[in-house]
Amino acid sequence: MATTDESATRAPRTAASNGKGKGNPVSWLDDRIGLAYQGKILLRKVFPDHWSFMLGEIALWSFVILLLTGTFLSLWFVPSMSEIVYHGPYHQLNGIHMSEAYASTLHISFDVRGGLLMRQIHHWSANIFIAAMTIHMLRIFFTGAFRKPREINWLIGLGLLMLGILEGFAGYSLPDDLLSGTGLRIADGIIRSIPVVGTYLEFFIFGGQFPGDVFISRLYIVHVLLIPGILLALISAHMILLFYQKHTQWPGPGHTNENVVGAPFFPIYTAKAGGFFFMVFGVTALLGAVLQINPIWMYGPYDPSQVTAGSQPDWYMGWLEGALRIMPNWETHIGGFTISWNVLIPGAAVMGVLFTLLAIYPFLERWITGDNRDHHILDRPRNQPTRTGLGVAGVTAYGLLWLAGGNDIIATHFHVSLNAITWFMRFAVFVGPVITFIIARRWAISLQRSDEHLLLHGYETGVIIRSPEGGYSEIHAPLSQESAYQIASRERRPPVGVPELEDEYGVRARGTAAERVRGRLHELWFGDEIPKPTAAELEEAHHHESPEGPLLEDGGHHGIESGGQIGGEEFDLEESSER
């Protein structure tokens, strides 16, 4: 702003204006709120760039879209269960008794111009919001971004995900259509199953018997004020911590644990992230334009004696629905009381267990690895085989439960016995994760081996040479310094936090049982990993003369590393131009 500066210098200086020009908004604000200090923190703050860092942004922007479209919808939606007789443009429902909530949703869909679009954008962004949070969480998990000092942000993120799921359920229950009413009926059954206080909770929540006449208005305030308020507060805390701790970055040339490399907040990140908001909004608007979602007029108003076959909740409830479907029908009767394990476990315990495991994971991993250092460089998932295996196991369990939530759809579409699918899933949710854990862990270790090979022996050039004896071998060329560093910069096995159980004289160290368990877990955690080569090993490999000579019949991966050995001008590898 050259002109402003000029006018500032030309303006007569007074003590009051502290030497800054009157009418200059920067000075005006700086005098009052210390704007320059804020700018110092913000304007050139560095944000590392990677496509996977965009997932959280999608979640953030979907939330903003939800606030915008939700506010629009609230201008017409009537959160009331009072019954009216419908007379409106949707002739098929004329004369039908329905709640005002359902009628006003019809009104938004048919009478308010753009109302249907906003409803559909709202519903699509809700689905995207939770999907983006879920995938963002997986990214954080698999790259170890939850490690110190970011454990608190991990917990806040879990809170956001859990509240997001509740918020979504509350939202699609509001229109009081047949599908959402069925969902609420199921929720009512779950609340009822809670031991001791279940029926009391049910009667307090629904203001009497299900469905009652107050629930929609109560749910409405939860949906538009209570949960969004908490979400907003948690999102703010999430962002403040992100700013304060600075974003993590991938390993790479120039990246260290003490710096952050990337684009400045202003203008690059502002333009990219700001532009991305419009992209996300644009995509949801196009989805709302061409892909129908939740056509409540086709379901009809809620009637507790009706249901549609093939009823499905929104996608993020699918795993809980699946748990409800495959749970064996266990119920205990003790001393005149009933405990409905068949409802209680899938309805309350499954979600509780998953979120508890996720919440304690960073602390558990830190305890086992004994790694108390700050981590700002992300792990490549292969370099943490056990963590990656556990993550894949979790995804498998979730995915199987989710599939089980559609067991009827699978049965009718693929002509498989519903009972067979259900029985398969009952075992698969336990066996599947174990299998995928083993596969993923071994896969990660294989990738480590492949990395080690690349580092020691270079990459396969695809050029085959024939020796005078008639043997064939492939020329390997060393990696560029950048790629080699990317691979080689992974951490060595973090130091054991507990002393070895026996000292060098074979005397058992005194330790608590917990420390012994930890020691054993530590061994299991890092067992089978391929150690990263040392500088000496690398040097050795690069100057290694294979006893069989440079040309290998077995096609083994010893290869030819040094340019001198192959004598080719094009593969003068010692003088690789990439350096």
Binding site: R113, G114, T182, G254, I268, N329
Partner: protein, 361 residues
């Protein structure tokens, strides 16, 4: 990081280590940030102008689409006019959605293209400050807090402290007690329905009373108590439905039933046969799992499948569960025929309908 003893209590400054810098064993030194590669737009003026035109073009198109949105908003009839369609889509929703969506998308794309092609793209490096405070600051603040605690006498004046805890603790109670009027106590409402002796079992849509002859063998009829419908009394006077509106829904959620007619010999349970009329039996329609209405009837096996979670009930044997997550059989409503030959209830259900609950026993 070299192997061997390592302090696990972390460094007070919380800083991690530049591994390459610390360990001579690291195979590859950090080569540092690669030199900035100029983009085509940095070196070629023609490319730069082209990118400029692209960005501005997208912004202008977005502006025009936003205008088009406003025009179409007024031109196209609202979705209530269901004849206004375009290729099977509602015209209004499609037109507004496409213009708005594309306007937003182009605005975003333009901003991102601007950043990618034209804004300076030199990576910059910022040092990370330690997340933790410097040790002296931490000590100062811990000392300040301790001073505050000492000055307040929080540790010393235990009477004040404990009475404060009592006050704060007790103040939580009104917050809970205030919620008492959220709803009535359950009482026996979870165990009873509106069914009682003599109430007719009527068709759930038309409200017409049913005679045994109205139900064919292998047929399932969704039914409800006559109290839910206006009735024409014996003297031709209309008796208004006892339950309407939300009260009706409350009762319907418990009292909905199904009638099924089987060959009496197909019914395995003697009690079930006795509670029916000539092979017509009446069961609760509300699933004992989590309360979905059950309506998928398999004629050959006389099994009833819940469409929500696929609990399957055998109607030939007291509605027992043969598959799925439901634990309890479907409650049966004992029925008989009244003087006029219509099906009526003989009593209420003998056990609570719907999902289980703690006090159920």
């Amino acid at each position: 990081m070299t192997e061997g003893p390592h302090p696990t209590d972390g460094h007070p400054d919380g800083a991690g280590h530049d591994l390459a810098a610390l360990s001579p064993e690291e195979p590859i030194p950090n080569p540092g940030l690669p030199p900035h590669e100029p983009r085509p737009t940095d070196v070629d003026a023609a490319q730069e102008r082209r990118a400029e035109r692209q960005v501005a073009g997208m912004f202008i198109l977005a502006a025009l689409l936003a205008l088009a949105f406003c025009v179409l908003y007024f031109v196209i009839p609202p979705p209530s006019d269901q004849s206004a369609t375009f290729m099977g889509y509602g015209a209004s929703n499609l037109a507004l959605g496409l213009t708005l969506g594309l306007a937003l998308l182009l605005t975003g794309a333009a901003a991102i293209q601007w950043a990618k092609k034209l804004m300076g793209n030199q990576d910059i490096i910022e040092a990370r400050h330690s997340t933790a405070s410097p040790p002296n600051v931490r000590e100062e603040q811990v000392a300040a807090f301790k001073l505050g605690v000492a000055e307040s006498g929080f540790g010393r004046r235990t009477l004040i402290r404990n009475s404060m805890f009592a006050a704060l603790g007790m103040l939580g109670l009104p917050a809970i007690v205030l919620l008492r009027d959220l709803g009535p106590l359950p009482g026996n409402l979870t165990s009873i329905t509106v069914w009682k002796r003599g109430i007719r079992v009527v068709n759930d849509v038309s409200g017409t009373p049913l005679r045994p002859s109205d139900i064919a063998e292998g047929q399932l009829v969704n039914a409800e108590p006559a109290l839910f419908f206006d009735e024409v009394g014996p003297n031709g006077k209309v008796i208004k439905a006892k339950y309407t509106g939300t009260a009706l829904n409350d009762q319907k959620a418990k009292a909905a039933v199904i009638l099924v007619r089987m060959l009496p010999t197909d019914i395995k349970s003697a009690q079930e046969r006795a509670w029916g009329v000539n092979g017509i039996v009446c069961f609760s329609k509300i699933c004992t799992h989590v309360g979905c209405p059950i309506s998928l009837y398999e004629q050959q096996t006389h099994q009833l499948l819940c469409p929500c979670h696929q609990s399957t009930f055998d109607l030939t044997e007291d509605g027992k569960v043969v598959f799925g997550p439901a634990a309890r059989p479907l409650p049966q409503l004992p029925i008989m025929v009244d003087k006029e030959g219509y099906l009526v209830a003989r009593s209420d259900f003998h056990q609570p309908v719907g999902p289980s609950f703690w006090e159920r026993g």
